[in-house]
């Protein structure tokens, strides 16, 4: 029951207004103080002993490559298997479809790799899913249930209009899908588990009929004709297709229960080791209800916020309900509320910034205010 993984570096359905992923893959989104979004899916696969992983990238995947490096931090620097990059133009034949246009097109360009993969089952994952899925359990259920296709899902608050809401019958077989919805909904996690032969047959079909959209063709078209089962993921899950979703997912981490679900001891989430020093709390630091990465230097007030690596908060500054990414510098006496600072942002002394709790104020990478 060996499986291999294919990870899409981008969701192909993100919000155009998502400033945080304009120049980086959705998989490279920094989350929870010290991670990138892809760490969750990648660690999930490694923890299920999947050591044959194909990463399908689209545009602006440089940051993602820097993060993955040689794969050592996930123990994926293997002689055979490990992580394999499938980047645009790397293997394309002139006649192949464009990797950029949709997941199904991207998959069609890598059929030769799927054919040569050693695993019998394939896990299609998406690099911007924030969840610690137990892929061993998913695989086990997939095999035992006799399903053709298994879709992990979770009971999520306000999944948003780009998510697939799913319903199942008593036997766990998919009976209905719709796009989006508000309130708590059973929401597909954009992962798919199936037999390699099933995927190959489906891709051949897709090629014949020139299908492009994965969800529409694999799920909507086939529902009722093949056995599609759900796997209910009980732990925390979030999808970051929009800025508010991203902000909420980070704020969720302040809840110890959500955190324990996302970081269970027996399925650790691995990330790039950066060799940062511990965080220093100076004489005037006042930190409450917050999460901090290593390498910070705090001499101000921090409430209900997520502080990423190497952030400096000077004396008298107040940071409330904020997400400050790596290398943010907050000057003396500055006041921030509901703000997301992307990497390398500098906020000058005495500056006051306030965003809406629902749609926070975003300072893009490198901004100085």
């Amino acid at each position: 029951m060996k499986a291999f993984g294919i990870i899409f570096s981008d969701s192909y359905s993100t919000d155009d207004r998502h400033e945080l992923i304009r120049h980086r893959s959705a998989s490279a989104l920094p989350v929870a103080c010290r991670y990138r979004a892809i760490d969750f899916t990648l660690s999930g696969l490694v923890n299920a002993d999947v050591r044959e992983i194909y990463l399908l990238t689209k545009r602006y995947y440089g940051t993602l490559l820097d993060h993955l490096g040689n794969g050592k931090d996930w123990d994926l620097d293997r002689k055979s298997g490990g992580i394999k990059l499938l980047t645009p133009y790397s293997h394309l034949d002139a006649a192949a479809p464009d990797m950029m246009s949709g997941k199904l097109d991207a998959l069609r360009t890598i059929i030769p790799f799927i054919k040569e993969a050693k695993g019998d089952y394939v896990i299609l994952g998406q690099g911007n899913l924030i969840a610690n899925l137990d892929f061993n359990a998913v695989l086990k259920q997939h095999v035992e249930s006799g399903a053709d296709l298994t879709i992990p899902y979770a009971y999520m608050e306000d999944p948003g209009e780009r998510s697939l809401v799913v319903s199942f019958d008593k036997e766990g077989v998919l009976t209905d899908v719709k796009l989006g919805g508000s309130g708590k909904q059973d929401t597909a996690l954009n992962c798919y588990v199936m037999h390699k032969d099933f995927l190959l047959a489906f891709l051949a079909q897709a090629n014949l009929y020139d299908w492009h959209d994965l969800n529409r063709n694999l799920i909507v078209r086939y529902m009722g004709r093949i056995r599609i089962c759900g796997y209910r993921h009980e732990g925390y899950a979030a999808i970051c297709n929009t800025v508010p979703q991203y902000f909420r997912a980070n704020m969720d981490m302040l809840d110890a229960k959500a955190r324990d679900e996302l970081f269970p001891e027996d399925r650790p989430v691995l990330t790039r080791v950066q060799d940062t020093v511990p965080t220093f709390y100076r004489f005037d630091a006042q930190v409450t209800d917050s999460l901090l990465a290593d390498g910070c230097d705090v001499d101000g007030t921090v409430k209900g916020s997520l502080i990423f690596r190497n952030v400096t908060i000077e004396e008298g500054a107040v940071v409330e309900n904020c997400v400050l990414m790596q290398n943010t510098h907050i000057g003396q006496g500055a006041v921030l509320k509901n703000v997301i600072c992307d990497k390398n942002v500098t906020v000058g002394a005495g500056v006051t910034l306030a965003g809406s709790e629902k749609y926070p104020y975003v300072l893009t990478k490198g901004t100085e205010v």
Binding site: V269, D275, V277, P278, T279, R282, F283, L291, L292
Partner: protein, 404 residues
Amino acid sequence: MLRKKEMVAMLLAGGQGSRLYVLTQQTAKPAIPFGGKYRIIDFPLSNCTNSGIDTVGVLTQYQPLELNTYIGNGQPWDLDRMHGGVHILPPYATAQGGDWYKGTANAIYQNINFIEQYEPEYVLVLSGDHIYKMNYNQMLEFHKKKGAAATIASLGVSLEEASRFGIMNADADGVIYEFEEKPAHPKSTNASMGIYIFTWEKLKKYLTEDEADPASDNDFGKNILPAMLAAGEKMVVYPFEGYWKDVGTIESFWEANMDLLNPKIPLGLSDPNWKIYARHGALQPQSIGSDTRIVESMISEGCRVEGDLWYSVLFSGVTLGKGSKVNSSVVMHNVKIGKNCSIRYAIIADDAVIEDGAVIGKSPEDCVSPDEWGIAVIGQGAVVKAGQVVGPKEMIAPRGGDNK
């Protein structure tokens, strides 16, 4: 197909380090945690990597398991090399039988074959119990420029401190004419830091001669250096400026940790151009609770802090319960501290459990006499029961260990 290495480093990971008592009862000294996320050996190893030295032999024969596991394939220090890299070198047997390492010089002597594989011109000898940052490559340039047979790194100490060190008396050009071990009346203040660069060909000669002498202690300081000096080899002092600390006693170990909290101490732990590398676990970010006060402290990944912290160092994975107060203490990896504990001037080793309401250590100002005061030490994995009081200077043995 092996290529030559200009300089190979040999790190004397040393013996038991008995002046660290319960801390070294089950751990080799270089493997002791230090500074929130490091171990002592991270400092010389990272110095090697940052100095461009990619071949390091670690000489050890005492409790090597933790060190072995910790160093592993050398990856955290970028020392997982195809040729070179870091190697643990324990004693071994030959067709003629085997010997334990008799002294520091004998340890190097027994590994001459290891060194010769790389055909080095120079050998750097380091010890595993000092905290400092140093560019060994600059020291090598100095050694070459001086045309020395041996170069010894030296720290300027005060005249009163000098009698606690090995002192090197040198002329204006830095050429050594005398060694004095802990002199009562020091003639100079050049203290040896235990960091040597030798021209390999010379060192090999003196190691071989020393080994042939049954009366020798086979020690660098006692035998090799004096023999070289007596034979008229050119030995020079390499002046080092910066932070350096021997952490061979409980007090100096505790002080060195406290030094990290002092912004005036010039160790520069955060310097991105001279990182100290360490092997890390995969831990969550640190979480700080609702009602805490954290002042002049260092906290690492994976900690959950609900209590108060003053002038202390929390290593990764520590839990600090509500109402507990920690002051001027060093709390190592994965220590669990319950609610309403009071911990002052203490060192708590990895995995210890401090149950609710326990009281450990005392502030010097609360002690009746200076003799009463001292650092309290809780050994690795030890359990301090709810409400238990551990006085200053007291030591609790590690789980499964002996009390003192």
